[in-house]
């Protein structure tokens, strides 16, 4: 196969991939675009979520068998309270455990008293706008402990989806340059569009602090 045929095959596959990867990701792109706008526009009244939150406090009997380590104690409490999600802010003593469990649109703050054998669960539930906002940021990252990985399987799956969408968008950007380069003589303003975009982006990422 000669060089020209190879290039032709590459540009053809690149174009097809650009189309189909874009179509595959379209709902993810819309979700992250729209939720990004919601995060940047707290003043949008129709998307108010905090004032519309629902709060509920429940008290449940919990029994913690003796001899369990901290992790097993937490697992036991979660299973007895029948909740699942990303566990955060764990504070544990020999007599009690305090922690939060969250998934997009829902946060439970839990206090378990081992001596009294009760688990107090304070739940916060958000409406659809709150759920959309939290989906945008739900990656299980711990600012104080960046080495700690997400502890809920679905957080990991969602974070993987975020990574995949990001990589997909990077591919769409690169493939668009290749597609344009092939037809650059007919679309010579493309130079200006691309350079203008790069100069502006570089200004914010590199030049502002120099």
């Amino acid at each position: 196969m000669n060089y020209k045929t190879l290039i032709k095959k590459f540009t053809y596959s690149n174009r097809r991939l650009h189309i189909h990867v874009g179509l595959f990701m379209v709902l993810f792109i819309w979700l992250f675009s729209f939720s990004g706008l919601l995060l940047n526009h707290g003043e949008w009244k129709f998307a108010s979520f905090w004032d519309e939150r629902k709060e509920k406090t429940t008290e449940t009997a919990v029994s913690i068998p003796a001899g369990l380590d901290s992790l097993d104690k937490l697992k036991s409490i979660l299973s007895q309270l029948k909740i699942s999600g990303e566990v955060n802010n764990v504070k544990m003593t020999s007599d009690s455990a305090d922690f939060s469990v969250s998934y997009p649109g829902h946060v439970s703050n839990i206090h378990a008293d081992f001596k009294k054998g009760i688990g107090i669960q304070k739940e916060l539930s958000y409406n659809i706008w709150g759920k959309l906002r939290t989906l945008h940021t739900f990656n299980g990252a711990n600012r104080d402990h960046p080495d700690v990985e997400p502890n809920w399987l679905l957080t990991r799956v969602w974070r993987f989806s975020m990574d995949a969408v990001a990589l997909g968008l990077i591919f769409l950007s690169f493939s668009s340059w290749i597609m344009w380069y092939k037809i650059r003589h007919n679309y010579s303003w493309g130079y200006l569009a691309l350079i203008a975009g790069f100069v502006l982006a570089a200004y914010f990422v590199f030049l502002l602090r120099s």
């Binding site: 179509l23 960046p146 968008l169 950007s173 569009a193 502006l200 590199f206 502002l208």
Partner: protein, 202 residues
């Protein structure tokens, strides 16, 4: 509808080229945000030497923000004031430019100033830009000129991205050769998207 194909194709191409560097900023920052530990290991934050200085007087103004702005103006520091903490003895606040974070602490009694700076680098700069202006401290946000511009640009990028995805669907629809596979890609993507949301949101 077909008569719109050529102008929409041209717009899709030019807008896509212009927006692509910003899409890279947002995409790279997602990877940075999701893998902070890895980024810290390959590109640690550099702590610059602490600077101690003294102001002749604190330029108290009508609001905390104006006072903080007056202080950074006197110190010759530029950036977005993220938030302000104040008590009877101190006023302190971080000032950020993408990639460099400065913390300023002023002793109200002596006018002594402690300036600590961290050079975070280009990767964390994308991270900062991605999160800005964001939902927090909305009354303060946009106190630096670059943040006002970035706010407009960030919105514009999102609207243009929405246009690109909609126009992409329009352009694909007229490509008969790609229609079947395109439908498959849409249905496959929608199934995964819906399935994920159903699982996560319960």
């Amino acid at each position: 509808m077909k008569k719109y194909y050529p102008p929409i194709r041209t717009l899709h191409l030019y807008i896509g080229l212009f927006v692509s560097p910003f899409v890279l900023i947002f995409s790279i920052s997602v990877l940075v945000l999701n893998h902070t530990d890895f980024v810290n290991s390959i590109n640690p934050v550099k702590h610059l030497p602490v600077v101690k200085t003294r102001l002749d007087k604190i330029p108290y103004d009508s609001t905390d923000l104006q006072t903080a702005k007056g202080i950074i103006q006197k110190l010759g520091i530029k950036g977005e004031i993220d938030f302000i903490s104040q008590n009877d003895d101190h006023i302190s606040f971080p000032v950020t430019l993408p990639g460099i974070r400065t913390k300023i602490e002023v002793d109200k009694h002596t006018n002594d100033v402690l300036i600590t700076r961290e050079e975070e680098g280009a990767l964390r700069a994308t991270n900062y830009l991605h999160k800005m202006p964001g939902p927090h401290n909305t009354k303060l946000r946009g106190n630096a000129a670059f943040m006002k511009n970035w706010r407009v640009l960030a919105d514009m990028v999102v609207y243009l991205l929405l246009f690109l995805s909609a126009s992409g669907i329009f352009l694909w629809y007229f490509l008969k050769a790609e229609r079947k596979l395109g439908w498959l890609a849409i249905v496959f993507g929608a199934t995964i998207f819906t399935g994920l949301l159903l699982f996560i949101l319960g």
